[in-house]
């Protein structure tokens, strides 16, 4: 449910709008649901709206954990 795609803010527009870009695709979205946002931030985009910022530190932490879990499960 709730198909969302991570995308990077490439431009802030007036009226709570912004442009996000993902791999050669740019999309005009609403950022009315997000408090503060800068160019370069990543957000989750759902039906043309940014739902939340993605926290790069937390993302890195999760990925590290996954890598550990993955290599723990690795065959020797």
């Amino acid at each position: 449910m709730c198909l969302s795609v991570p995308a990077k803010i490439s431009k802030i527009l007036p009226d709570d709008m912004a442009i996000v870009s993902i791999d050669g695709v740019s999309l005009e979205i609403s950022i009315a649901l997000i408090d503060e946002l800068d160019v370069g931030d990543s957000v989750l985009v759902h039906v043309g709206y940014a739902l939340s910022k993605i926290d790069p530190t937390e993302a890195k932490r999760t990925l590290q954990l996954l890598q550990e879990l993955g290599s723990a499960g690795q065959e020797p």
Binding site: L3, D23, G24, V25, E28, I29, V45, H46
Partner: protein, 348 residues
Amino acid sequence: MSGKDYHGKLDVENGRVDLSHGSGGRAMAQLISGLFHQAFGNEWLARCNDQSAFEVAAGRMVMTTDGYVVSPLFFPGGNIGSLAVHGTINDVVMAGARPLYLSASFIIEEGFRFSDLGTIAQSMGVAARGAGVYIITGDTKVVERGKADGLFISTTGIGVLADGLDLSADKARIGDRVLVSGSLGDHGVAIMSTRQNAALQVEIVSDSASLHDLVAVMMAAGGRGIRVMRDPTRGGLAATLNEIAHQSGLGFRLQEAAIPVKPAVAATCELLGLDPIHVANEGKLVAIVAPDVADAVLAAMKAHPLGCDAADIGEAVADDHKFVQLATSFGGGRIVDWLSGEQLPRIC
């Protein structure tokens, strides 16, 4: 029609099609001579008959037809006219045949601009000449406003087969390799991105192209080892392989990691909840080839500008279910089914 003597010049810049241009009168003759013949110009059309005659050698021929209803009519990488020529040529060459002649049937909505029609006809002329093919006969109908979507084109193509050649979906054999000539979904995504409102901008152009020359180099490399060729248009790779599976009674096993998809196409599909293997292509082919020639054919494809991203994506396998299965890049497996109905953007 030649007759400058019996009808004046068309105002291609400012004029529009109205019902009189489809009524068999002087206005129609003016449209046909002033616009279509000028764009397609060849000796057959010049004779102005209701049909055209041409010489053929004895042998096997192929015939194919397709209707083009693309919206918008102009899109990044082409327009309905170039698409109609490329698409029909491709259905001819997918049989391994050399395309010879095309017919074109135009159904035009009242109010359509001559200038747009002229651009489209010119594109058709360019596309046909590029493939060494002639548009030798045609027809023009005009319908009332609101009874068409600007312009529909139906093109029919005929071509000749080399002696004894018989490419058909039922020729696939267990162990055959599945080759695709390049990245998937470019055409569909280019169309979708123009259809969506301006909010979505995708750096992708339609792959619309005639594959006659690519097929020629493939045939030279693979000969009778090429069993089936098909262009994965509507329904994409998934539909095409499912069709072939059902016609041949085999299954296919694909490697997702091997399937070329451009990042912008992948990203657009993620955004809209679509799958690139269901998205239409207009300048790609899928070839089912005998394993012993697969590498040679693939090398020939990669050496051709329209095949530089070609890939070996899997193989034909015995399968009573005639399933197309995919080993995902992630390490799992799934069935690649036909699309059920239209591919609709999803929110979830």
